[in-house]
Amino acid sequence: MNLRRFRAWGVRLSGMFNKERRDRELAEELESHLQMHVEDNLRSGMTAEEARRRALIELGGLEAAKEECRSRRGGPAVENLLRSLRYALRTLRRDPGFTSVAVLTLALGVGATTAIFSVVYATLFEPLPYPKPDQLVMVWSKADQRRNSVSADDYLEWKHRSKSFQYLEAWSGGTFNVATDERREQVQAALMTPGFFRMTGTPMFLGRDFLPEEGEAGNDYVVVITHRMWSRNFGCHPRSLRTRHWPRRRLSVGPRHAGESVRRQRNGRACSRGGRLRVARGDPAGLLYPCPARQLS
């Protein structure tokens, strides 16, 4: 029923256009109605004059009927709306000062709201770039009622006893020096227990994930560089994965997150632009090392 009413409004709106044709048709329709009535009256034996007079009386005023139909068709509501709109536009044009202030206020309001919401969305609502972000939680220890990082012994104990978590993996931050032919730089890194990528469920972009035994002291000769670092500093070239720069290390490239830009270069030499790696959420480090849990803290 509401749909019908909506449809009727649509028809009424479109009735605003080709108004003249509709008016002509209406006049013709009413005229033919009148004539038919007159003819019927004639047939019942009235004089021509009387027939027409009676028909007109019985039908009510012709113009009034037309007006009634017009208002039903286009609708004064629609016409009033258009008139009000035109009036509003005229007023705005007449007072540019007021108009610009109003527009500016609206623009600022909309802009600020958008900006704030973008930040709120990114920090609170946007899912983490992992296959099952709703199953990932951060586990903290507590010191003086405040969140604190977990000691290695606690972590091992938790992992040993925990039955609620599918995986319980730990990581810690650090910095490492990376030297290429062109330059040396300090890179932010993360040391992590080998199961980390199995936990997040993100596949390596190139190469392979850490093996469990690589988390033991002496076996930690593997490195995963983030896709971001690979793309920014090494031009996404597979040759950069050769371990010449990291003689003892095996290199893999970590998961590529959605929306991450890729910078390609023809030769596999390191790009010499920038130096500092930007730290972004969900991709905090340039280098990821497997690490025995005991060394984390």
């Binding site: 019908r4 009413r5 449809r7 009727a8 028809v11 009424r12 048709e25 209406l26 013709e28 329709e29 009413l30 033919s32 109605h33 004539q35 038919m36 009535h37 003819e39 019927d40 009386i57 019985e58 039908l59 009510g60 005023g61 012709l62 009034a64 009927a65 009634e68 139909c69 039903r72 068709r73």
Partner: protein, 114 residues
């Protein structure tokens, strides 16, 4: 003429739909005449009520119209019921019957009320 009954909008629409169902395709004058005949001359229809009602029904998609030629060779706009109009007629007729039945009970002799 003054003793003829005025009819109100909702019932007029229902009468128009019913008339079109009975007669098939019909012009406005035909509809008016037919309604007057059916009412036994108790109702009179003027343009001021009939055509707005037809326009409304057409806007709502219950009737469709096209130009044609009448019996005595006059150009006239013919209206006919659409499928939605048929459904609407059925629905409104049922509602009307229910209303009438309820009112009838109020005016029935007291002993017939159980």
């Amino acid at each position: 003429m003054s003793d003829k009954k005025e009819i109100w909008q909702g019932t007029l629409a229902l009468m128009v739909l019913k008339t079109l169902e009975a007669m098939g395709s019909l012009h406005g004058y035909g509809v008016a005449r037919r309604i007057e005949q059916t009412s036994g001359g108790l109702l009179s229809i003027n343009y001021g009520t009939l055509y707005p009602a037809l326009i409304k029904l057409e806007q709502e998609g219950y009737v469709s119209s096209e130009w044609g030629v009448s019996d005595n060779n006059r150009r006239a706009k013919y209206y006919k019921l659409t499928r939605a109009g048929r459904r609407q007629l059925k629905r409104e007729a049922r509602e009307w019957e229910e209303t009438a039945a309820i009112l009838a009970r109020f005016f029935a002799p007291a002993e017939e009320l159980s």
